[in-house]
């Protein structure tokens, strides 16, 4: 268990070559730590027995086991749902930033893990990568081939371009007709008002949304000391700065930026999770599972 749990560490994961393998290790490592399996549910595929407790439907009782053991047991099946999930993965230039592991790498692993988890739960899972526009789009499906394609897309993503999240959400809205779960993985470095407006509009159309905002620890602390030429990874614009002189002001602005998203998304009842790339994937996966539990 210990060996599997260590795969939740992003830096360890980064060293592995195959993304599907990484995702499997992460998810299974994560699941090993859980007390209850998330796979239980209503499904044609048997998973386990459990003792009958008053209130359970009688039709669920396995009479054959009763005959053998003289006790009531309920037969549980793997859940089979019609949940359609879209993973929206931001691949803009700013996502390429990171000290040990870039935000995009983190986001890719997280996407793969979530896809794997969804796939294992037999949910339909699709993916969409974007910067200023949608780059790759795989519609949701619970088939294994779909999962493989998703992993391939994620594997080949490289950072670049500016972010135009509002535009992307608008385009996605045109494509998704049925109610779906939308998992947004991005640093949200776009105009907050526009992004929030788009997300709220999406939410208003009965779609469920989980937002994972990925940031790097250096973005939060701005630990630079030496005067340097800072270059924007999206626009290539650069300015000379004395980091010490502006650190306090920067930190305040950045925290205000994050708090603004948190407050507004909470108010709109949109699930929001701020993920630091130094954190393990557990938190993100928990957040997803909580959301899914609500959907059931």
């Amino acid at each position: 268990m210990k060996n599997k749990a260590r795969y939740l560490d992003p830096e360890v994961i980064a060293r592995l070559a195959r993304l599907d393998l990484k995702a499997r290790l992460v998810v299974e490592g994560f699941l090993t730590g859980l007390h209850h399996s998330p796979y239980k549910g209503f499904s044609q595929e048997f998973t386990d027995y459990r003792p009958y407790i008053p209130g359970d439907e009688l039709k669920s009782i396995d009479w054959k086991v009763y005959a053998r053991r003289d006790r009531f047991y309920i037969k549980e099946y793997q859940e089979e749902t019609n949940l359609r999930a879209y993973i929206l993965l931001d691949k803009s230039g700013s996502m390429g930033y990171g000290k040990n592991i870039t935000k995009l790498e983190y986001a890719k692993f997280l996407s793969a893990c979530l896809a794997y988890l969804l796939f294992k739960q037999r949910d339909g899972v699709g993916i969409m990568t974007f910067d200023t526009k949608i780059n790759d789009f795989i519609p949701p499906s619970a088939k294994k081939i779909n999962f493989t394609r998703i992993i391939e897309v994620i594997d080949h993503i490289t950072p670049g371009g500016e972010t135009s999240l509002a535009q992307v959400l608008f385009e996605l809205g045109q494509k998704i007709k049925r109610r779906a779960l939308v998992i947004l993985i991005s640093d949200l470095f776009d105009e907050p008002d526009l992004v929030l407006k788009s997300l709220k509009s999406f939410h208003a159309r009965k779609h469920e949304i989980v937002v994972f905002q990925i940031i790097d620890a250096q973005e939060l602390s701005f630990p630079f000391i030496e005067t340097a030429l800072f270059q924007d990874m999206e626009t290539n614009e650069h300015i000379a700065l004395d980091p010490i002189a502006i650190r306090n002001s920067y930190q305040k602005k950045f925290k205000d930026f994050l708090n603004n998203y948190r407050r507004n998304l909470n108010e709109a009842r949109i699930d929001y999770e701020l993920i630091n790339t130094e954190q393990t994937f557990e938190r993100a996966l928990f957040a997803y599972l909580e959301k899914r539990a609500k959907l059931l």
Partner: protein
Amino acid sequence: MKFLNPGYLLGLLLIAVPIIIHLYYKKRLKKILFSSLMFLKSAEASRLRWYKLKEILILIMRCLIITGIFFALARPQYTGKLFAKNRLAAVSVIIDNSISMNYNDNFTNALKQAEQVISNYSPKSIFYVTPLCEQKNFKPFWSNKHTALENLKKIKLSYLSCPLKDLINNLKNENTELPKEYIYIGDGQKINFKDMEPTKDFYWLKIPMGSENIAIEDVSVKDPFQVPKDYYELKVNIKNYSKRVYHSKVQLSADNYIKQNVCEISPGQNLITTFALPVTIKKGVIQLDKDSLDIDNQYFFSKSLMTDIKVLIVGSDAYIRTGLSPSVSIRTPFQIENASTIKKTDLRPFQIIILNGIEELTEFEIIKLNNFLSQQANGLIIFLGPKIGANFKNFLAVFGTIEEQIDVEGYLNIKWIDTEYESFRIFADNPGINLIKFFKSYRIIPRAQVLAKLSNGIPLILYHNNIMLITSQFNEASTDIIYNPNFIPLLHSLIYGLTNKYIDNEYRTGNKFPRQVKIKSPDGEVLSENIFFKPGFYAVENETVGVNIDHLESNPQILSPEMADALGIKIITPESLQGSSDLTNLFLFIAFCALICELILMLL
């Protein structure tokens, strides 16, 4: 500016070091890829500007530190433009030796500065060293540097007041091959620049003037004509030029008579204090407490009632005798005699002859009169009677064309009297003089000086040389003056105007006595040119004359920079004469300040 150790200026090349470092650092600035500049740009646009400014300021401060240090090491010396060494010119050095330069050691200082000025010029320059006020036994001339320095030592303080105007005009006319420069070294009293025209290359080396001064501006004495008094009324006008309230004693000492008045004068104010002076006084001094220019605190005056003036009245002596000697109780200086004609009278003992209403003069009498008048101390007063003969008319022709006597309807008043005329000053602000009525007068077209006019505009009193002509007679038929309180004063002042009028006049240093007489200075020296050159008592024939300095010398008003500018005068100070001043400390201070600024900037 010059440098004592110019080699250190090479160190200024080190300024390149911080500049190169700055540029290198700027060029080689480490590039950091960052996710987004949106928080950096929006948050701190102003700080970014400040950062750039700070970098530049720090660079400037570093350059200043290097500049300051190496300039200080090079020992910079400031040299005034005017007195740069080896200047070649024809230089007129004018030393203000007026008495206002007697403040503290201003005059000695002026001479020292003059030495410095001359020394700074090229040995090939020529110099005209001259005192502002003419000085006995010293005639200025163009000379070389050495002689000019010698000539400086001959210049002494003078009690005269002299404007620059005449001196400069004379100097401008001098022909020299070298460019002309004028350097006036003095306190720059405004009066010295009176009427001066703008002059090119005129420099004023300013010697600061003291302002702690209280001075006697003028003294006036009211003669005791009108009332048989035994006292003159003596008014002393004192001005406080200082900036503080002045408490002073004014002491009048005359012969054995001493009197003190205490006065308090506010800054910039005048005060008039009055003394009653016994008429027996011959000479006296009014003295204030001393201050920085004590010479203007003394006023020398001479005052005595004239005595023993022998007056001959030719014709009727009615009213005239009474007017000259009203009663025994009034002391008058006149010894009066009467004669019907001049012909048989010896005129030699008399100083004043009064022709009262006579009709004609013979040619012999005219010759006698002319002989009499050739003596300058003598005078003739003529009252015109009802008729004038041909000879007499010719004699009077110098006064103008005399027409017929007019018998006016009603009367004429005295319309105007010349109170500027010395002995008529007592009639100033005296309305009673205009109430005198005249019933008869001669119409005259004047050629001589008119001293009084009647209300129809015709002259009443005319003056020529030492003759007074009155176009009417002082009797009942012609005027009511004989009943007027101004009768005696007018009659007396007619005689005073003709006799000894230099006595009691106020003389100032530099004035020339009007007649060629023997004058002894206060030192007992006999004057050769009859010019009063110092204050004090002068013996003029048998009388004493008090001479004072020009009261304007007391005035501490100096030429303003604006006025100096208007006259083209460039003002310089003794400090700029030193040729140079050491600026080492200034540059060290600049370097120190730059260092402090840099440290502050780095902490910001």
